[in-house]
């Protein structure tokens, strides 16, 4: 991080040192239970609580929410979060569990909620005590986010919500949900409003959380049904009918294109064995070195080698694009790289995991419940799960529209 050092102001340098000292003394060590690849896949309460403890301690040490106002439980600084993230990554820490809360809910609340609601919700959000989930997707509203059918009806100081949300990761743990729904049937876009909803408190008051089963047989996603759920008007963000505008703040931050830097730790190998990660080309290369394919070592097959190199190049390019994004002189359009990330990252992982079938050959037929499955069936499982992300958060077909329209300036495909 020498280069980063050079750029630090004295205050930032001091903060960076604080991060390093604290992390050196307070790294949580290895988890007591196996963690999934990402927070969105958390299903084991024990894993969740261990990660919540980690987030709370990092929060208390001032490494999380540093750029948020003090009145919202933040550090009231500028440019500190990026430093804290760098140092937490350097220190190979576990990831933070309240990923939707910090990455999507927090900035949206910051920019659109009333002050007392910010003060009420953000401290426990940033500390990770309250887990958040996202209520955007519906059976009829996939990539077409504005096609919301869930309806909130005004009732004095309250709203009465009815509807059906799907693909709500973490809903089974969540205290709160960011909810996009319809408050008027007259206008597709201007008929939307945005709420924060205490779903755990309402589990016996009209909220039902049900797990959805993925094609892999795993759970993880949920569906959430709202049956006359009452929410106070103070939990509405921004004006009635401004839901679409508010949702744009959420999505911009989800795509790493918003003004607030999302608190993020990580870098810790989730398995003892680095090469266990299914998002790394080098992990697949290691597999190819061990794996027999059609009776020969896969890594000796020139066609497999070429595929692996193609993937390595794309992975390296992804990293170098993130690097270039930070250099305005080298980016013509400010959104050109940020808006690529979701599309590029998810397709890179999917293509990589598809190659694993050819690397494993006949053994790719074996599933995670077979003792002989290569890498415990991790790669074939990951390939199936990869469609969760190429479909989610605006299918990649929509991502290409966004890039073509917002960055290249081509006319809308609608």
């Amino acid at each position: 991080m020498s280069e980063a050092d050079r750029k630090d102001t004295p205050e930032q340098a001091e903060f960076r040192q604080h991060c390093r000292d604290w992390l050196a003394a307070n790294h949580p060590g290895r988890p007591p239970v196996r963690l999934p690849q990402g927070a969105l896949e958390l299903s084991d309460p024990e894993a969740l609580h261990w990660l919540q403890d980690w987030q709370k301690s990092a929060y208390d040490a001032g490494l999380i929410g540093c750029d948020y106002p003090a009145a919202c439980g933040g550090g009231g600084q500028e440019g500190f979060q990026a430093i804290a993230n760098q140092e937490m990554m350097q220190a190979k820490t576990p990831y933070l569990p309240n990923i939707i809360g910090m990455g999507m809910a927090a900035p949206t609340i910051l920019f659109h909620a009333q002050d007392e609601v910010k003060a009420e919700l953000l401290p426990r959000l940033l500390s990770g005590e309250d887990i958040w989930c996202q209520g955007f997707s519906e059976p009829g509203a996939g990539s077409d986010l504005a096609n919301q059918q869930t309806f909130a009806e005004r009732d004095g100081d309250n709203w009465v919500i009815n509807g059906h949300k799907v693909w709500t990761s973490l809903a089974h743990f969540a205290e709160w949900m960011i909810l996009l729904c319809r408050t008027s049937k007259d206008d597709k876009y201007n008929g939307l409003s945005y709420f924060v909803v205490p779903i755990k408190d309402n589990l016996d008051k009209g909220v039902t959380v049900r797990p959805l089963i993925k094609m892999t047989g795993e759970t993880g996603f949920n569906e959430v049904i709202f049956d006359n759920v009452v929410v106070n008007d103070r939990y509405r963000l921004d004006e009635v009918g401004a839901g679409w505008k508010v949702a744009m703040t959420t999505l911009a931050h989800e795509r790493g294109a918003g003004p607030m830097v999302t608190p993020a730790s990580g870098g810790m190998a989730l398995e003892e064995d680095e090469s266990a990660q299914t998002s790394s080309v080098h992990a697949l290369i290691d597999l190819a070195r061990q794996q027999e394919r059609n009776g020969k070592t896969a890594a000796d097959d020139p066609l497999i080698r070429d595929d692996l190199m193609k993937m390595m190049i794309r992975q390296a390019a992804f990293g170098q694009n993130s690097r270039r994004m930070g250099v305005p002189a080298l980016t013509d359009h400010p959104m050109r790289i940020p808006l690529q990330f979701k599309l590029v990252a998810t397709e890179l992982a999917q293509d990589l995991q598809q190659i694993a079938y050819e690397v494993e050959g006949a053994a790719s037929s074996l599933y995670v419940n077979d003792d002989n499955s290569p890498a415990n069936g991790r790669w074939t499982l990951a390939y199936m799960n990869s469609f969760g992300v190429t479909i989610a958060a605006g299918a990649n077909e929509v991502q290409r529209n966004i890039l073509g329209e917002r960055v290249l300036g081509l006319p809308k495909s609608k």
Partner: protein
């Protein structure tokens, strides 16, 4: 120009058989029925079980499907391979769980043996004895000369891997090595000192196992030193049958996704309005037609007994494997969130295709062998 029939040898009998197979699967194997049957337990660490419908198997046998490609001399019907290919395609379109295609593969190997013992086994297949191949080693080599089994004094030791539909079959055709080379041997599923260990596999519509032999009695089908030659002779037929299965599954995925794209509305338009959906679906169709025609051509050239049977069969399997992976991935992608769920039937075909994709060699493997055939070994 080829002397082979323009219609791939697809005459009236073959068409009738294909149509009756199509009707049979429509009546008995709707996707929801298959799903309820084989996908009742999504649990990722579910116990390994082999689920299939023995009554349907009995009906199939009575319809003569197991006898279709058994030579008349051996008590079969002796129809051309295209007949079995047509049935395999329909079976793939229904994601039909049964030992039928495995039995067809065994039929091809037994026919190539040409011994009395093999002919007897063929007769039993015609009568309904489900039989499958155990000719792959633990490394998953598709080479006819590779086996982890050995035979000494007429008894088998060692192991065989990636045995398809093993728990559904009554018999195994095992390749085993002795000092005189690789031979082929018939083993009863219930034989003493034989362990059949089921594999946990992704594909819900078949079962797979590895066999362990601890001095197992067997009947010689092909003498030591003959076995690899026999397997090589049968391999084009095997590859063609697997290709047909993939073609059927691919067509199901295409049609199902097209139907979804016509009805599912996004951005106030049916999904299929968008070229980002329409054009990939057209590309899937193009690949299906390529694989389908190459598969029929391979079958027809095998029936005609003409020179390039291996070339034709490996072209078909290469095209079918690539098409299958592509068709399966687009089907899930374009079904959106629902396509990613267990309750959507797409995953049944997705998983069956990903299994067939690598079975007897993926597309890259086929093309590597094709290059050696057509261009010659690289210097």
């Amino acid at each position: 120009m080829s002397e082979q029939p323009k219609n791939f040898g697809f005459g009236e009998d073959e068409t009738m058989l294909r149509d009756s197979a199509r009707k049979f699967f429509q009546d008995n194997c709707s996707a929801d029925k298959i799903h309820a049957q084989v996908a009742h337990d999504p649990e990722i660490h579910r116990p390994i079980e082999c689920i299939w419908d023995r009554d349907l198997w009995q009906q199939i046998v009575e319809l003569g499907w197991t006898a279709v490609c058994v030579p008349e001399a051996a008590g079969g019907i002796g129809m051309p391979l295209v007949a079995a290919v047509a049935i395999a395609e329909e079976a793939g379109k229904a994601a039909f769980p049964s030992p039928l295609i495995s039995t067809y593969c065994a039929t091809a190997v037994l026919t190539a043996c040409g011994t009395d013992a093999a002919n007897a086994a063929l007769g039993d297949i015609a009568g309904g004895t489900a039989t499958t191949l155990a000719i792959t080693n633990q490394k998953g080599s598709w080479h006819s000369n590779d086996t982890d089994a050995t035979i000494i004094d007429g008894k088998l030791s060692g192991s065989a891997w990636f045995v398809q539909d093993a728990k559904k079959c009554d018999r195994f055709v095992v390749s085993a090595r002795s000092e005189n080379g690789v031979g082929l041997y018939l083993v009863e599923a219930g034989a003493a000192n034989l362990d059949i260990t089921p594999d946990g596999i992704i594909d819900l519509t078949r079962d797979q196992a590895h066999l362990t032999f601890n001095g197992v009695d067997c009947i010689e089908l092909a003498a030591a030193g003959e076995g690899d030659r026999v397997i090589d002779a049968a391999m084009p037929t095997i590859l063609t049958l697997i290709s047909a299965d993939i073609v059927g599954s691919g067509e199901w995925l295409l049609q199902t996704t097209v139907e979804y794209a016509k009805t599912r509305v996004q951005f106030d338009r049916p999904l299929g309005f968008f070229q980002a959906v329409k054009h990939p679906l057209v590309n899937v169709m193009l690949d299906i037609d390529r694989a389908k025609s190459l598969t029929y051509n391979a079958a027809c050239s095998i029936d005609a007994g003409e020179g390039n049977v291996e070339l034709n069969a490996r072209m078909a399997k290469s095209m079918a494997s690539d098409m299958g992976v592509f068709a399966a991935s687009r089907a899930v992608q374009f079904h959106g969130g629902i396509g990613f769920t267990w309750e959507c039937y797409v995953h049944l075909f997705f998983k069956r295709i990903m299994h067939n994709h690598v079975l007897f060699g993926d597309a890259k493997y086929q093309r590597t062998l094709l290059a050696d055939m057509v261009i010659g070994k690289a210097a």
